[in-house]
Each structure stands twice: as structure tokens, then as C-alpha cells.
């Protein structure tokens, strides 16, 4: 009974309110401690030497001069991080990315590291390390990389998942296919078929806090790691494996995190810091520079996507097909696969086929970025749907409503949907005042839909009742944007006590069992489920204690509004016992009162959104400016609506940056040319309008309060919505993002020429 995750409709007292977050004051006074704000006694400064080449063999590394420099306490190469991954390819790739072994695969790839008494000495030591490279031909473009004669990253990479076993190695590491029906038959039934190629450039999550950690390893094999991460338990497990340490002997504490968005989901330089510390027998602190973050952490894929969609004049989409090539950096991942799964997920299609390609290129190892891979696929599909609607003379929003997936639809990635929110978000868009607002000169309006999966996963949570009856909620999911407030709300709700009597803390790895990361929009979904279960278990204990205080059978005790009540007329004169009273007597009734939950939070459901945006394009400069923006998304149940709005607005802003400005620019030499916030320009305050939000609440049947994850979906529609708006402003279809001024100008010029001709 206590572990019943199913949704039961109820009226809420705490959930849905908007209290102040518990970490607010620390964050406005400068007291909150982030990755770089922590120091250990006598810590050394760690620095990493990075490859200037996009692709090269490491012939020899000479560290002897660096080691002799006064003040240098440890110099490290891959030899100090032997392969302990035991055939786990994913972990080996992470290891190779932390410290290159035989080859460097991108500009910025780590080749050596030093730990020294201060920054100046460490910098000097880096210069004394001599690396003998044999430079190899490189490839950074995703379309170039798939060509037969492209420089090969891995000689032994034979495409997995293709129709036939390949004879030759290539940079296509894997192909994955999804879909159902017969797309060729579907295209034959269409009145109009449009096929186009779309390109998106590589972008970075752009969290404002660079990666930072302080590591300390003792000769007895124990260690401590302070680090900014989305998942300290995962970092612990990764580091312990890569360093050959016992998991239980490495205690990892997550700092406050200054943004992650998927970029802090696996280790980058943390194992190096630990290895340096082990070698020097001193704590070591490593803080990445912004340039290192751009060159050597995990941006998202650049893509090239071919989409073909057919439609009948009545608005029915008859078939959809996509070939999605996602650059994954030098190592196999699943970014093309995710693009293939999500591309058509918003629609009810009889015939659909998608193929995702994992393409290896000489760029940094791609990492997750908020709803990874979905925004690019949505850009391609939503652009073509808009164009098709125009061609048949129908409103693009109505075409989307007509073809939207619903309960019982077979999704493009396989399973049949349960209750989902795409239809309601589209209906809400249709009714939204934004749709009727007049457009100004050079302005266009666009809309787009977006889909993303949500995760559950392993979660472990404690509820402890203090002697004064206040409650500590201990969770293991990192708070990336206000989850301590939402989780405390859920536990207060379940216990029937006020929010301000619950204090939520993110514990270190020594205090709780394993927790998966805060990723996949799972933080509030899964930790609230575990928190609710822990609260229910606490209530069982509280009832037992009340029974002992009253000397009655526990079966006669109920829990209501934060009080134990004796049930039955024979107890008529017993006043209810408050949490505070039961807590005060705990020492005499069996000791501390606590409840725990260790769960796999399955059933996170899927998430949909529809965005509307107005864009003004300056025909002289090609600059596009978003002048109005509306996000409509299903939250299941918004636990803390203000922070749900914040997730919607933040995702939209990141999508706007991706659509209009942000891109990795590589030179012919394979070096990243814009590794800084001056030339990699993310939206600033004056670039954006207010971002309106509308929260829909279609309860998730698999969460006690109906909660869905809300963090990621908001980044999926913006690129497409903006591309559609820009296209509508000038009647020019934009197929390459970012739609930076030069690209827009070029498209405008080309359209003028076509008109003249």
C-alpha cells in the first residue's frame, strides 16, 4: 500500500502554492557555495594540457622538465589512468575523453595534467611538457564525415545496425531505425510531398558556471570530491571505476550547481583531479576556464537532416520519413537515435520511417543538452509541416491539430500512447490571445510543437522528524532550479503540515543510497515520488508511536492533517496528537522517527508543448528579433508553478539563442574559433521579450500527485517556431540554423534573385 504510485485526484493544500525557495537567501547574499567556491587545506592547483590539433597520434610525451620544476607536485598522463573499464565501451570512451591515450580526437582533448602549489607554477609546468604529435587529417563537418573518403577517426569502426555488414570502416558508428507502415505507399497517396535538407550547427549548454572540483585522495584508498554536477552519485560511480577505488570509500558532495542542462551528467576532469591528488598526496582543485568549457566539455550535436513528408489536400499527413545525421564527437553515442525517436512523435501517422546516424567527427564528445536531439529533429519536421499546410491552403495550426497524436495513437518510435497533452496544448494555442494579436511591419508568426521523454530511475530519499516536530527531507537529486522547494511542498502535503516545517537538503553520497542524476526531467518527478513514499512510511511510524502514547492498538489510529487521531467512539475524549507531540515523546516510544524510500520511479510519461512566436526581421541587416513569445506545456501537476514557469521560459530562451545566434565555428585547421561568450553569443536581456507561459495540467496516471517532468520539453519547439516565423515574415524558407544575420541576408538575396528570374 505505501508504494502505490498511481494518481488519485485530490485537493491540495501545499502543492500548487508558490512559497519562497529554501536556498534563496544564500543565493542572493553570495553565501551559496558553488564548485569553485570550496577550498581544502593546502590544496594544489590542477591544470590540464590540451591538444592544439583536431586529430593526431600521440607519439611521445616528455614530462621530465615539468616534474623537475620547483612547486610542481604531480604530473600526469594517460599512463596514470590505466584502463580499468573491463570492456565497458561507454566508460572507456569517458576515460579516453578525460585523458587521451593513443590519439587526440579534437582541439582541446586532454593529453596531460599538472598539480602545483599555485597557478603561476602550474601554468609554467604545462609549458614544459613536450608532446610529440603526428598530425592526421581531420573532419569536423557531419556531412563530410559520412563521405567514403573522409578521414577516419577509428580504423576499427564498422557501422552497426546497417542492412548489411560493412566491408570498410567509416565514421558512421551506428544506424538505428524506427517506424511503422509503408512510407512509399503513403507518399503515393499524398497530393503534395515536400523533401528538404535541414542543418543545425553545434551549440553549447552555456551554463554560466564552469566545471570545477576539489579532490582529495589519501594513501589508504579513501577519497573526497567536491564538485558541481547534475549527479554526484553517478560521478562517484564513474570516478571509483576509473580510478579503481571502492565506491563506498569515495565520498562525493555536490556543490550548488551553476547550470548544467545535460552538460554535467558525466565526468570530464574529475578523475584527473583525483588521480593528481592520489599522486601528490595533497588535495587538488581544478576549475575549467570558459575556453576549456567550450573546447573540451560536451556540447550538443551539429546535424544534417533529410525530411520527406506527404499530405493530402484535406490536411491528412500520409507519410513521414527522416534521415538524421548527428555528429557525436569522437565516440559513439545515441544522439541520432534520439533524433529518430522524437522527430515525428507529436503526430498520428500511418506510415513513418526514421533512421538516425551516429557520426564521428573531430569535435568534442557530444553530451546531452536539454531534451537532447529533439530540437533539431523538430526543426526539420515542423518546418516541412508548416510549408505543406501553406501549399494546401490550410492554417498550419489546424493541420497540426488534425494530425496530432492522442491516447491510443501508435507513436513514431513504437509504443501506443496513454493520455498525452499534445492535443490540449494545440487547442490552448488556438484559443490563446497571442494568436489574434496584430503583426507589425517585417514581422512573422510561427508555431511549432515539441515532444520529449521523461525519465524516472533510481531514487533514495529520507524523511527524518526532529525532536521539535520539524522535518528534514534528505534527497540525492541535485537541485538545478528550485526542486528543494517543490520536494518540500510534496512532503508537507503528504504529512499534512505547513511547508515551512519541512527543510529539504541534498545529501552527499555517504548519506543516502544511489540516486540517478537530475536529468531527463526526473528531479522533481522521481524525488517527489520517493519523498511521498518516505512520508507515507513516516506516517506509519508516527501512528505506531501515537498508539503507544495512547496505549491503544495501532489499527485504531489514523493520520489526518498532520495529527494522529484515535478512531472510534470509545476514544471520544482523546485529543489528536500533533507531529510535535509525537516527536517530543519519541525517546520513550522507540527512538527517532523516520521514513525512507528506495525506489525505481518508473512511469514518467511523455511531455508535449506548443510554442507561438512573433519575429521581426530587419531586411537591411538580416537581424531577427523575437518580439513576442508564448509557451504552452503540460506539467501534469505544477508543484511550484513559479518554478515550472521558469523552466518553460528558460528552455524557450535557450532555443531562441540556438535559432538565432549560437554556433560552434571551426576553422579549416579544425580548431574552434569562438571559444568564449564574446563570439559565442547567448541571448542577453535586451535580446528577448517577456516570455508568456501557460501551464496545462493533465495528470500523469503514474505519479501520486499527477506530476510530469517539466524541465526539458521547452527547448524543443523554439528553433522550429522561430524558423517558421522568419519564413512567414518574408516567404523565405530557412533551412539552416542559426538564422544569423548573414544567413538571413543571403536567403533574402537569393529569394530576390529567384523572383527577378
Amino acid at each position: 500500500m505505501p508504494l502505490d504510485a498511481s494518481y488519485h485526484a485530490k485537493s491540495f493544500k501545499s502543492v500548487g502554492t508558490r512559497p519562497l525557495r529554501p536556498d534563496g537567501i544564500d543565493k542572493v547574499t553570495g553565501r551559496a557555495k558553488y564548485g569553485a567556491d570550496h577550498n581544502m587545506p593546502g590544496h594544489l592547483v590542477g591544470l590540464i594540457l590540451r591538444s592544439p590539433h583536431a586529430h593526431a597520434k600521440i607519439k611521445r610525451i616528455d614530462i621530465s622538465k615539468a616534474e623537475k620544476l620547483a612547486g610542481v607536485k604531480a604530473v600526469l598522463t594517460a599512463a596514470d589512468l590505466p584502463d580499468l573499464t573491463n570492456g565497458d565501451q561507454g566508460m572507456f570512451d569517458i576515460l579516453d575523453n578525460c585523458m587521451a591515450r593513443t590519439k587526440v580526437f579534437y582541439d582541446g582533448h586532454a593529453v596531460a595534467a599538472v598539480a602545483a602549489v599555485d597557478m603561476a607554477t602550474a601554468k609554467q609546468a604545462l609549458k614544459l611538457i613536450k608532446v610529440d604529435y603526428q598530425v592526421l587529417p581531420h573532419v569536423t563537418d557531419v556531412d563530410e564525415a559520412v563521405k567514403p573518403k573522409a578521414p577516419l577517426l577509428h580504423e576499427k569502426c564498422f557501422t552497426e545496425g546497417g542492412e548489411s555488414k560493412p566491408k570498410n570502416p567509416s565514421n558512421v558508428a551506428k544506424i538505428t531505425e524506427f517506424g511503422h507502415g509503408d512510407v512509399e505507399k503513403g507518399f503515393a497517396e499524398a497530393d503534395i510531398v515536400i523533401e528538404r535538407n535541414f542543418k543545425t550547427e553545434q551549440t553549447h549548454q552555456g551554463y554560466i558556471e564552469p566545471h570545477a572540483c576539489v579532490a582529495s585522495v589519501s594513501p589508504d584508498g579513501t577519497g573526497e570530491l567536491w564538485v558541481c554536477t547534475q549527479g554526484h552519485f553517478v560521478y562517484r560511480n564513474h570516478c571509483a571505476m576509473l580510478l579503481g577505488m571502492d565506491v563506498s570509500k569515495l565520498r562525493v558532495t555536490s556543490s550548488e550547481i551553476g547550470g548544467g542542462f545535460g552538460g554535467k551528467t558525466h565526468v570530464w576532469m574529475e578523475p584527473v583531479a583525483l588521480a593528481l591528488s592520489r599522486k601528490a598526496n595533497r588535495p587538488v582543485k581544478i576549475v575549467m576556464t570558459r575556453e576549456e568549457v567550450f573546447r573540451a566539455s560536451g556540447p550538443t550535436s551539429a546535424t544534417s537532416i533529410d525530411v520527406k513528408i506527404g499530405i493530402r489536400k484535406d490536411g491528412t499527413i500520409t507519410a513521414g520519413k527522416a534521415e538524421l545525421r548527428y555528429a557525436s564527437g569522437p565516440y559513439l553515442s545515441m544522439w541520432g537515435e534520439l533524433g529518430a525517436m522524437t522527430s515525428f512523435a507529436c503526430y498520428d501517422l500511418k506510415n513513418v520511417k526514421t533512421r538516425g546516424y551516429e557520426v564521428l567527427v573531430n569535435r568534442p564528445k557530444s553530451a546531452a543538452y536539454r531534451a537532447p536531439s529533439a530540437p533539431m529533429a523538430a526543426f526539420a519536421v515542423e518546418s516541412v509541416i508548416d510549408e505543406l499546410a501553406k501549399r494546401i491552403g490550410k492554417d498550419p495550426l489546424e493541420v497540426r491539430i488534425q494530425n496530432a497524436a492522442k491516447q491510443g495513437t501508435r507513436s513514431s518510435y513504437g509504443p501506443v500512447y496513454g493520455p498525452i497533452g499534445i492535443g490540449p496544448t494545440l487547442e490552448a494555442a488556438r484559443k490563446h490571445p497571442h494568436m489574434k494579436a496584430p503583426l507589425g511591419k517585417n514581422q512573422g508568426r510561427g508555431y511549432a510543437c515539441g515532444f520529449w521523454f521523461n525519465f524516472g530511475g533510481q531514487t533514495c530519499t529520507d524523511v527524518n522528524v526532529g525532536p521539535d516536530g520539524t522535518v528534514t527531507l534528505t534527497v540525492g537529486t541535485v537541485d538545478v532550479g528550485g526542486s528543494r522547494a517543490s520536494l518540500a511542498l510534496c512532503v508537507a502535503e503528504e504529512l499534512g503540515i505547513p511547508y515551512d516545517q519541512v527543510k529539504c537538503t541534498v545529501a552527499d553520497t555517504g548519506a543516502l543510497g544511489h540516486n540517478d542524476m537530475t536529468d531527463g526531467s526526473r528531479g522533481t518527478f522521481s524525488s517527489s515520488m520517493a519523498g511521498i513514499f518516505a512520508a507515507r512510511n513516516t506516517i506509519e511510524v508516527l501512528k505506531e508511536r501515537a498508539a503507544k502514547m495512547w496505549e491503544i492498538p495501532v489499527s485504531d489510529v489514523a493520520w489526518e492533517n498532520g495529527h494522529a487521531k484515535a478512531v472510534g467512539s470509545k476514544y471520544g475524549n482523546l485529543a489528536p496528537l500533533s507531529l510535535k507531540e509525537i516527536a517530543a515523546a519519541a525517546g520513550n516510544t522507540g527512538g527517532p522517527v523516520a521514513g525512507h524510500a528506495e525506489i525505481v520511479a518508473d512511469g514518467a510519461g511523455v511531455s508535449f508543448a506548443t510554442h507561438i512566436c512573433d519575429v521581426e526581421v530587419d531586411p537591411e541587416t538580416g537581424r531577427s528579433r523575437v518580439v513576442r513569445y508564448t509557451v504552452i506545456q503540460d506539467a501534469g501537476k505544477a508543484v511550484h508553478p513559479t518554478y515550472v514557469e521558469g523552466q518553460y521560459q528558460g528552455g524557450a530562451a535557450q532555443g531562441i539563442g540556438w535559432a538565432l545566434n549560437e554556433e560552434y565555428i571551426y576553422g579549416k585547421d579544425g580548431r574552434l574559433q569562438n571559444p568564449g561568450f564574446l563570439d559565442y553569443r547567448i541571448p542577453v536581456c535586451s535580446d528577448l521579450p517577456m516570455i508568456d507561459t501557460q501551464i496545462l495540467e493533465i495528470p500523469n496516471p503514474n505519479h501520486p500527485y499527477g506530476v510530469r517532468g517539466v524541465g526539458e520539453t521547452s527547448i524543443v519547439p523554439p528553433i522550429a517556431a522561430i524558423a517558421n516565423a522568419v519564413s512567414n515574415a518574408f516567404g523565405v524558407r530557412m533551412t539552416h540554423v542559426p538564422m544569423s544575420p548573414p544567413r538571413v541576408l543571403k536567403a533574402l538575396e537569393a529569394a530576390k534573385k529567384t523572383k527577378k528570374a
Binding site: G90, E160, G161, K174, I175, T176, E177, F178, Q205, G260, F261, G262, G263, T265, S333, M334, E337, L338, M341, R355, A368, Y369, R370, A371, P372, S411, Y413, G414, P415, V416, Y417, G418, W452, F453, N454, F455, G456, G457, Q458, D519, G520, S521, R522, V600, D602, G603, A604, G605, N702, G711, E712
Partner: protein, 81 residues
């Protein structure tokens, strides 16, 4: 016997079939029998496979029951941000 739908990457291990039939009551039993019948699936199962049961996706819990007549879909274990 339940129909088990396979996503693209698993199909080569099942001789190209998109659906295979397995008698299984739980996810654990399903995985065990798939490995027995289609050894080529072992690396995929080791890497992580999610199971969709009537549209609800389970990533981890082996003990989850596979109800009679349910639609069972195997999917990659996805990553998120």
C-alpha cells in the same frame, strides 16, 4: 506467448524480425529468454534496454509484470539533459 516488438537496433539479432514471440511473465524472464533465443541481443541488453508496456516505459525494474495481451515494445535506454 506475447508479441515482443523490437526497435531497429535489435532486429539484426533476431534475423531481421521486427516482432518476436516470447513466453514471459516479468521483464527479467523476458530478458533471460531473449538472450537464450537471440544471443546477438546480449550486448544491447547489457548496454540497457527499456521496456514499454502498454505505452508506459520501464527502464529498470526487472520484477515488473507483463500482463496478458499487453503491448510490449523494447526501446533503447535513452539519455536526457
Amino acid at each position: 506467448m506475447a508479441d515482443i516488438h523490437l526497435w531497429g537496433a535489435l532486429r539484426p539479432a533476431a534475423g531481421g524480425a521486427s516482432v518476436v514471440q516470447v513466453e514471459a511473465k516479468t521483464i527479467r524472464e523476458l530478458f533471460r529468454k531473449l538472450e537464450d533465443a537471440y544471443p546477438g541481443m546480449t550486448p544491447h541488453l547489457a548496454r540497457g534496454v527499456a521496456v514499454s508496456i502498454d505505452g508506459r516505459i520501464y527502464r529498470d525494474s526487472w520484477e515488473t509484470m507483463l500482463p496478458d495481451g499487453a503491448e510490449i515494445y523494447l526501446l533503447p535506454r535513452i539519455q536526457g539533459g
